[in-house]
């Protein structure tokens, strides 16, 4: 597969790994006091586990899995709201496959479907719009999820619905943005990170400049990265080079796709359709100002929340669940009391165990037997 295989060739990894080892050694950090680098994006977490990169890295370098998995950070209350919409009569609720199994306080969309709700899995918001055209007598509610990578597709679909007058198409927006979240993370107590692997596909939309504050204000190195294993390794290497040199700049490893200014059409579509909410709740991270997106008043007729009343009750995570600390990187997945016992991919308690990009599910599925002694010693 062009533009995939070249960046997935294990042979190419050896040199970078050796470089990473050399650079880590230069920092003088040890397994007891490791360098901590956060990959913000769940796609990177997935790649790291899928290709077994974690176990290849030196012990003095720890990868902290960040909150960049839109399904994982969806709070219980919003899942409940989604369910309340899905079970309405005359509603087709269209969702990406990822969100179908996420548990709310009263079950998941999958269970609602089994009990008779018309829940459909779609690959694209444009497929949800197509459902609306085919079912003019029903409301089709699209479960809008995701960061800036996905927001343009929802925005363009709303614009198409407006142009074609498909008024039975609605969006239940849970779209979120990366920059306020990053800032909240950087401001949170007890978080000592040495650098960030930046989200490649979000950056393809927003560009590289919005991250300047991370380097300028917080003095942390930041490398926007592609998603293939060699991309991730090279980005880690670039971060380490900055750390060794005592630099903190924003660099772009994913130049084949990410331009400094992002994608103009996509940004304009977001701007046209969406505006920031005053505040939005994140699972585990609490409420973050301006981190959520809602439809602007001009497009309120496509807003499921303007159309139907949703309970909007904030539901705390189950008491035993430590997803919040996992998402912040404060604890490792296996340090959670219920990891692998009460909370497994079959019976997820927290959202980090639901999505295959969640740090807990990734650890459970790919990491349990990781030859890394760091994992083995903890049980």
């Amino acid at each position: 597969m062009k533009y995939v295989d070249e960046f997935r060739n294990p042979k190419g990894g050896k040199g970078i790994l050796a470089d990473i080892e050399r650079l880590v050694a230069k920092t003088g950090r040890t397994a007891k006091n490791p360098l901590k680098v956060m990959e913000i994006c769940g796609g990177h977490t997935h790649a790291i586990f899928k290709f077994g990169l974690q176990s290849m890295l030196p012990e003095a370098l720890e990868l902290v899995h960040g909150p960049g998995c839109p399904v994982c950070v969806l709070p219980v209350g919003r899942v409940d709201d989604a369910l309340s919409l899905a079970v309405r009569p005359n509603v087709i609720f269209a969702s990406f496959g990822d969100a179908i199994r996420v548990p709310g306080s009263k079950g998941s969309l999958l269970e609602a479907k089994a009990e008779g709700a018309d829940v459909r899995t779609v690959y694209s918001p444009s497929d949800a719009l197509e459902l609306a055209r085919q079912n003019p007598n029903q409301k089709v509610i699209f479960f809008g999820l995701g960061f800036e990578t996905t927001v343009p597709s929802t925005a363009l679909t709303v614009l198409e619905a407006a142009r074609d007058g498909v008024d039975n198409f609605l969006v239940f927006s849970n779209h979120i943005t990366i920059v306020p979240t990053l800032r909240a993370l950087l401001d949170s107590d007890g978080l000592h990170l040495d650098g960030f692997v930046g989200p490649g596909h979000v950056s393809m939309v927003i560009g590289v400049r919005p991250y300047d504050f991370v380097a300028a204000e917080y003095k942390k190195p930041f490398v926007v990265s592609g998603f293939e294993p060699l991309d991730v390794l090279q980005s880690v290497r670039m971060l380490l080079a900055q750390i060794v040199d005592g630099r903190a700049t924003v660099e772009n490893q994913y130049r084949r796709l990410v331009k400094d200014d992002g994608n103009r059409v996509a940004l304009e579509a977001i701007q046209e359709v969406f505006e920031p909410r005053a505040t939005f709740e994140w699972r585990g991270l609490g409420s973050i100002e301006h981190s959520g997106l809602q439809l602007r008043a001009a497009y309120a007729r496509f807003d499921a929340e303007a159309h139907f009343k949703v309970p909007s009750v904030s539901v705390p995570d189950p008491g035993v669940c430590e997803c919040g600390d996992v998402l912040k990187g404060a604890i490792k997945p296996w340090e959670c009391k219920v990891f692998g016992t009460a909370c497994t991919p079959e019976t997820p308690i927290g959202a980090c165990m639901v999505s295959s990009e969640g740090a807990c599910a990734a650890h459970y599925n790919y990491g349990r037997l990781n030859p890394s002694s760091r994992l083995r010693t903890v049980s």
């Binding site: 190419g12 995701g146 596909h201 393809m204 991309d231």
Partner: protein, 93 residues
Amino acid sequence: MCLGIPGQVVEISDREKKLGIVDISGVKRQVNLACVAQGEDLSPLLGQWVLVHVGFAMNVIDPEEAARTIELLRELGEAQAELESMQKSGARP
């Protein structure tokens, strides 16, 4: 987050709605080309590689930048191979 996959634009299917057919390793899907269209004429996109996310082409893949990254990766690999062969053949103390 944000699963994206490279595909090649093989057909413009609806100029007005900016839709085209993208080939992903032999699997075809109609995708929205609005974000990668340079003006009204979509034909320059034919043959280009784009990154597809949820049925939308989000950016064109820059072949020169890709080649540069690959070259960089190759150099790193070669440097490592050289280092290893030096270590192997090098005199032991």
